[in-house]
């Protein structure tokens, strides 16, 4: 797991709000929509409907007193929809390229996505490679070392993830968040579709009364029962437009 340490970021003002466009790319059925669903709603469906065109969701992350709003474009995986992808990654600040660790072809496809993004994506695009379905390691066809070496060679982020168990899902998005430049403050939009996540590495000093979720990723949202809901204002004494609740779970 990467990115556990306290992130060092410059220029993030208290209560600032940044907005980023993120796109998910990858072969059909590797788990793009499931990763987003886990990240945005803390849910997992064994049978996730296939995405047509693209789905759009938002999620807000708090990092270093800065609120980052991810605008997520979750694209269709089938090859014939490929020609539409530039419409979604054009202007994106981040891209998550997903493959399925049980399927070598999907890793090859992920590499071609990375190449395309290097060529046609914006120059400062933060790219992350996600080897999903890590819970199915007994059927593994892509070694983590191989993917890691590839990611290092390309200087992109890499994590193995499981949308099913939530392993590394939030970490992946936080790791991306930490790499994103934060100079443009933007007005907040309409209510996002998800909860607000707080990076516990940032937050431990503040969240005095928090809960532990054993056996799970360190601040994974599983069900509302595992969480305490605070009014955002109560915790931070700041009022952020339209972000009314914030879930905090300690390490």
């Amino acid at each position: 797991m990467t990115g556990r340490g306290p992130p060092r970021l410059n220029g993030a003002g208290a209560g600032g709000m940044c907005q980023f466009k993120l796109v998910l790319l990858g072969e059909s059925a590797v788990g793009k929509s499931s990763l987003v669903l886990r990240f945005v709603k803390g849910q997992f469906h064994e049978f996730q409907e296939s995405t047509i065109g693209a789905a759009f969701l938002t999620q807000t992350v708090v990092l270093d007193d800065t609120t980052l709003k991810f605008e997520i474009w979750d694209t269709a995986g089938q090859e014939r929809y490929h020609s539409l992808a530039p419409m979604y990654y054009r202007g994106s600040q981040a891209a998550v390229v997903v493959y399925d660790i049980t399927n070598q072809d999907t890793f090859a496809r992920a590499k071609t996505w990375v190449r395309e993004l290097e060529k046609a994506g914006s120059p400062n695009l933060v790219i992350a490679l996600a080897g999903n379905k890590a819970d199915m390691a007994n059927r593994r066809m892509v070694e983590a070392e191989e993917a890691k070496a590839y990611a290092e060679e390309k200087s992109i982020l890499f994590m193995e993830t499981s949308a099913k168990t939530a392993m590394n899902v939030n970490d992946l998005f936080l790791a991306i968040a930490k790499r994103l430049p934060r100079n443009e403050k933007q007005p907040s939009g309409e209510g996002g579709s998800g909860h607000t996540l707080v990076d516990p590495a940032q937050d431990e000093k503040k969240s005095g009364s928090c809960l532990t979720t054993p056996g799970l990723n360190f601040f994974t949202l599983t069900s509302e029962l595992d969480l305490r809901v605070f009014k955002f204002e109560d915790v931070y004494g700041v009022i952020l437009n339209r972000i009314s609740t914030c879930y905090v779970v300690n390490k």
Binding site: Q48, S50, I52, Q78, Y81, G189
Partner: protein, 336 residues
Amino acid sequence: MSASNSNDLHRSEIDAYGFKHGEDFDYDSYEEFMSRYLSILARRASKWNKLLSGSGSVKRSSKVKRYVRKGIPNEHRGEMWMCVSKAKKLMDSNEGLYQRLLGQELDPSIQSEIDIDLHRTFPENIYFCNDAAASGKQDSLRNVLKAFANHNPEIGYCQGLNYVVAMLLIVLKDEEKSFFLLEKLTKQILVGYYSKNLRGLNVDQMVLGELVKLRNPNIASHMENKMAPWSLVCMKWFVCLYLDILPIETTLRIWDCLFYEGPKILFRVALTLVLQNEESILTARDTSQIVERFRKVKSQPLNMDCHTFMQKVFLDSQPLKMATIDKLRSECEQNL
């Protein structure tokens, strides 16, 4: 449909087609709408029964067109789709074709594309969910998609067809009929929509942009200023023919017209959705906000009332000539 039936229906979490109501399903609006719609349904049913008494089929006429626009009753819907689209005629003149196609082996890569999507097609629908006991129609879905791919190598399998075929199977309750209606749909009604380059689909989304420009230049220029291509908003409208975009009853009313009148109805509905959300679009800060706002059309009470919605569709889009669409299509084709 009796009043007690309808009561069971709208109190239930499952609708008449096996779909679970979404989290944001507005039971109150639905109840209010159904209480008005039941008498309309009863009237339509008696008119259709009279129309069909005798031959049991219909010929094209302004009366039939009017009847179709006012909604085909559920009990006749499948047969009428087969009839007005001429899929029945196609099926009758191709006896044995479906079985032959089923017997042929399909290119394994296409077969696996289909298989990947089978479990991901309406997993919340009681006919397609993955409970072994209930998944009656999943095999039928595999069969129809396979036969279709075998018969149309230039299309193979296109994501989106899984939903369309699943809905055909729910309404027609028959694989062979669903196959031939799909043939009519893809070869005569929506040419090029599902092809490998999606050309027909892309052209028609551009055509919608042109129609909006003609009808409401403000909206069109706002979209252009936000650099938002219409396909960001309406791709799924055209691929899934409003399935999962609008409430199911409304979608089926659209399909009634689609099979009788052709693709014009897709544009009419799109124009209505765009025009009725004018304010949302014009006040949107950026592309994402536009898309986010359009996602809410399914739960707008206005769109649940399929009868009023369809009346509005024909009023809003005014006379829309196929010649206009064809002209725009050829212009857009050149710009593609």
